[in-house]
């Protein structure tokens, strides 16, 4: 499967199955497009990943007919010598397994579905309560379609015990203190970290704790503890003051920006500008969200993420299909500015443009997806288990609890069976091994089944992958 695109003056060719990424000149770009076009005209769709025929191999490319077809197709644009030379490069890449690579993963998918999974990560809903009243909150201001509640130390302890007992041979275990706002139940967070540190020695495990906070209650004591114990900390902020304060007010309507920003700046500096993210949400009310990311950078932050809001179609702030062209432009604009800033020595990380072409996840990880419902579970304040934080409060996804463990394993089986090959819309998508089928909660939200995709999210994901790779191309010069 091949995906080729042009962005910011670069001709980029992705060999989707091998993950190889090439920057090519115009003649080579057109030769590859010509090969795909000819394959499609012959009734095969190898380049689209819908291979019904013999596929494209180095041998088929070496056939005289391939060159003749290309020469006819590109006649007048390039000399036969140029076409022949580019074709030889294409053949060399194909022989090296870096172009037109055949999909050999699909036959592994039964193994992926049947694999024995262990639980390695929990999202602990330490507080179903919040001191902000963000308009877009999927947790309904912390309450998750339910009541306000704080997790007790006893429930949290049982959750950590459940994680250790369910984690098999995994050494690294992740626990995110999430909410609502976890600092509203801070003593329990600290006590659970202490309990985890004690238990990890006994069971030869290592806990990686993370905290997701809105910063309202962040103080020196919290900061010192977080820096000592938390592998990562996610700091919620939406960007420019007016953008943040419109969506993230206090319950009395006052803005939160002025209180929070100095605390986040101090925390980020105290961590050496590493192992944290300032994380925002953009909505259709700030489609110029690149300005918010640059605002973060101008505030001195180096690690940042801005996620598109997910909301019902009738929510005034929800992203609509008609917003996509503006969003695409915004990602392009951001990518160009990031290249400039990097070259000026003022670079920063944007989470959605992070891509590691050499050291990224293995195929097994890419085929198995985000792990929700199997490796990753959410725990409510009273100890119920759900496939992830976004399913909390939807009773049909209640999987069990910290006392009895998983009592509805069929839910885990359903999540385990969901992958890029089980979703029709993923089959011919070039980004399938980057998103691994996308967010199942979003699919359920929009289609009533986890075995589908959220198309607006997919469009944005594809664009982000393209921009991330273009940045790599630009910085490789």
């Amino acid at each position: 499967m091949i995906h080729q695109y042009q962005n910011n003056g670069y001709n980029i060719v992705m060999d989707v199955v091998s993950g190889a990424v090439h920057v090519v000149d115009q003649v080579c770009y057109d030769v590859i497009a010509g090969i795909c076009k000819s394959d499609e005209a012959d009734g095969f769709e190898a380049c689209k990943g819908l291979q019904e025929g013999p596929g494209i191999t180095a041998e088929t490319l070496k056939e005289p007919e391939t060159f003749q077809k290309l020469a006819a197709e590109l006649n007048g644009r390039y000399s036969e010598e140029e076409i022949g030379e580019a074709l030889r490069d294409v053949i060399e890449l194909t022989e090296a397994g870096q172009l037109f690579t055949e999909d050999t993963y699909e036959c592994l998918i039964d193994e992926v579905k049947k694999r024995k999974t262990v639980v390695k990560a929990l999202c602990l809903h330490i507080a179903h309560d919040c001191n902000l009243a963000c308009r877009y909150c999927f947790a309904e201001e912390g309450e998750y379609h339910g009541r306000r509640a704080l997790m007790s130390y006893e429930v949290g302890k049982k959750a950590l015990d459940f994680l250790i007992a369910s984690s098999g041979g995994r050494h690294n275990l992740e626990v995110d203190f999430f909410g609502g706002e976890p600092l509203m139940n801070w003593q329990v967070v600290k006590d659970l970290v202490a309990y985890g540190r004690e238990q990890e020695k006994i069971h030869d495990k290592h806990f990686r704790f993370t905290l997701t906070t809105n910063g309202v209650l962040l103080n020196d004591e919290v900061q010192a503890f977080v820096n000592r114990e938390m592998d990562n900390v996610v700091l919620s902020l939406d960007g420019r003051r007016e953008v943040n304060d419109r969506m993230r007010p206090f319950r009395n309507g006052a803005g939160s920006y002025d209180l929070i920003v100095p605390k986040f700046q101090r925390l980020a500096d105290s961590r050496g500008q590493e192992r944290y993210y300032v994380r925002g949400t953009f909505t259709r009310e700030n489609l110029d969200f690149a300005e918010d990311i640059l605002h973060f950078a101008d505030l001195g932050f180096k690690q940042m993420s801005i996620e598109p809001v997910v909301g019902d179609e009738d929510d005034p702030y929800a992203i609509r299909v008609s917003d996509l062209p503006a969003i695409m432009e915004e990602y392009d604009k951001l990518a160009k500015v990031m290249i400039e800033r990097e070259k000026e020595g003022k670079g920063f990380n944007f989470f959605h443009f992070m891509i590691d072409l050499d050291g990224g996840p293995c195929v097994a990880k890419r085929l198995s997806g985000c792990g929700s419902g199997t490796e990753y579970l959410a725990v409510t304040p009273w100890g119920d288990l759900y496939p992830c934080h976004q399913f909390v409060g939807q009773e049909e996804f209640l999987m069990g609890n910290v006392d009895e463990g998983i009592v509805r394993p069929e839910i885990a089986d359903d999540f385990r069976s969901c992958n890029v090959y089980s979703k029709e819309k993923c089959r011919d998508c070039f980004a399938k091994f980057y998103c691994s089928g996308g967010c199942m909660a979003n699919a359920y939200h929009f289609h009533g089944t986890i075995h589908d995709t959220y198309e607006i999210g997919c469009e944005m994901q594809r664009k982000r992958v393209e921009c991330a790779i273009m940045i790599k191309a630009a910085l490789a010069e």
Binding site: V23, V363, A364, G438, I469
Partner: protein
């Protein structure tokens, strides 16, 4: 090659041989919480 510059030295299918150790970070724990970002995670074996 005159016409091509390849950006990566390793290809993904090499990782098939080793299989998945599962020690890597769960994607939603990293920063997103509302999307799916498997592709930008780092392999624990290559750290």
């Amino acid at each position: 090659m005159k016409h091509v510059k390849t950006l990566n030295t390793h290809t993904m299918n090499n990782s098939l041989k080793k299989g998945g150790c599962g020690e890597c970070q769960t994607s939603c724990q990293s920063a997103c919480k509302t999307s799916c970002t498997v592709g930008n995670q780092t392999c624990e074996q290559k750290k």
